[in-house]
Subunit: 200 residues, 2 copies
DNA sequence: GATCAAATTTGACACTGTAAAGTTAATCTT
DNA sequence: AAGATTAACTTTACAGTGTCAAATTTGATC
């Protein structure tokens, strides 16, 4: 009864449909994401997805879950690159956040969108949201004694989330890659000031 | 040849369709927004909208334009409420931003979404984006001499935009109204520190 | 009052999601 | 090992949707 590998007909249709959906999403945006097209890409009939997801919203939710997994990996990779100070780790997580948004903008919008799961929905076996725990860990050194950690977390998250969405939306002008001279450094400068003084 | 008031049959179908679209949007989210349903609400046949908008994406774009107009009014209203210091005006614009998001979450998502216009698209006669100019005006007192105003603007905008989207998305827990004890005050505390020291 | 053009309707088609019933293939039972 | 059972998938069908091309109505123009 393994849900993982060799199954009846297709092998692992569920995963194939999710991947096809992600591909369609990043190729043509949310409008291009269609149950029938996903089925066609996976090589099955158009009604097959209904046995694995609760309709199109269900597929989108599953895509969002997969997106959060990849998202977490992006951020941990950004953090684990070499030894870093607490402050540098805070910058790294933000850089990972933005990088993910640049590389997978369609996915990111879906993750926080209408049928997305959001960060706090528990997935698989993990009893809490992995992505948020990463943020929490990186913010911890900057939480004043006895203060609610949510304060610092909300500050950092709001900043980088807002910047990333505005940036990939083209609201800062070009959407191209040269992050160096973009307003990103300005936002990072503000991140650097979090937790330096009386905060509340 | 007035595009404004009394026209041939309906009177002002264009505006009626936009309003119907906004209503549908806020009632049932983006999925509920349909050309045919808008037409039905406006009392015309299903193909009538095609003569006023470039399909559903076109209607969404028009809705987004209307949304930015209302958005601007929200922020100016928040600013013009009584005499305020520069710092208080900065806080007020953020409060207006959040209030708009709370009251018109569907509209806000569309404005910055797939077929939305974004802040910088010129609309009507105005040669530049009204909403952004409001932000610019409020940020101006905090831009250091000879510095690029975009820096401060990006900081404030990223913060309040990110917080608002996360908040209406339920990422901070409850989506209800008691803003007082929410992370909003933490974000405002961070806004208060913008432009107080060496910034870049 | 006849003409003309804009605004809207009618009808049609392809595509989508979804539900029901049918078909195939793997697993289970004895 | 052979039949029964269930899961995975297909086929068929239907209601909604966007979109296009042709009528049709309506208001204005001459």
């Amino acid at each position: 009864m393994s849900t993982a590998k060799t199954r009846h007909h297709h092998g692992d249709l569920k995963r194939a449909l999710i991947q096809a959906g992600i591909d369609l999403l990043e190729e043509g945006g949310l409008d291009a994401l269609t149950l029938r097209k996903c089925a066609a890409r996976a090589g099955v009939s158009h009604a097959a997805p209904a046995h694995h997801f609760a309709g199109l919203p269900g597929l989108i939710t599953a895509i969002s879950a997969e997106g959060f997994d990849r998202f977490s990996k992006y951020m941990t990779d950004a953090i684990e690159a070499g030894e870093q100070t607490d402050r540098e780790r805070l910058r790294s997580i933000c850089r990972g956040y933005l990088q993910f948004g640049l590389s997978h903008s369609g996915l990111l919008k879906v993750m926080f969108g209408e049928h997305g799961l959001g960060v706090h929905a528990p997935r698989d076996g993990r009893d809490e949201a992995e992505a948020y725990l990463i943020l929490r860990g990186v913010c911890a050194p900057f939480v004043p004694e006895g203060e609610d950690p949510h304060i610092v977390e909300a500050q950092v998250w709001s900043l980088i989330h807002g910047f990333t969405l505005l940036y990939i939306g083209g609201e800062f002008g070009c959407t191209s890659m040269p992050i160096e001279d973009s307003p990103f450094e300005a936002v990072m400068a503000l991140v650097d000031r979090i937790g330096t003084q009386a905060n509340t």
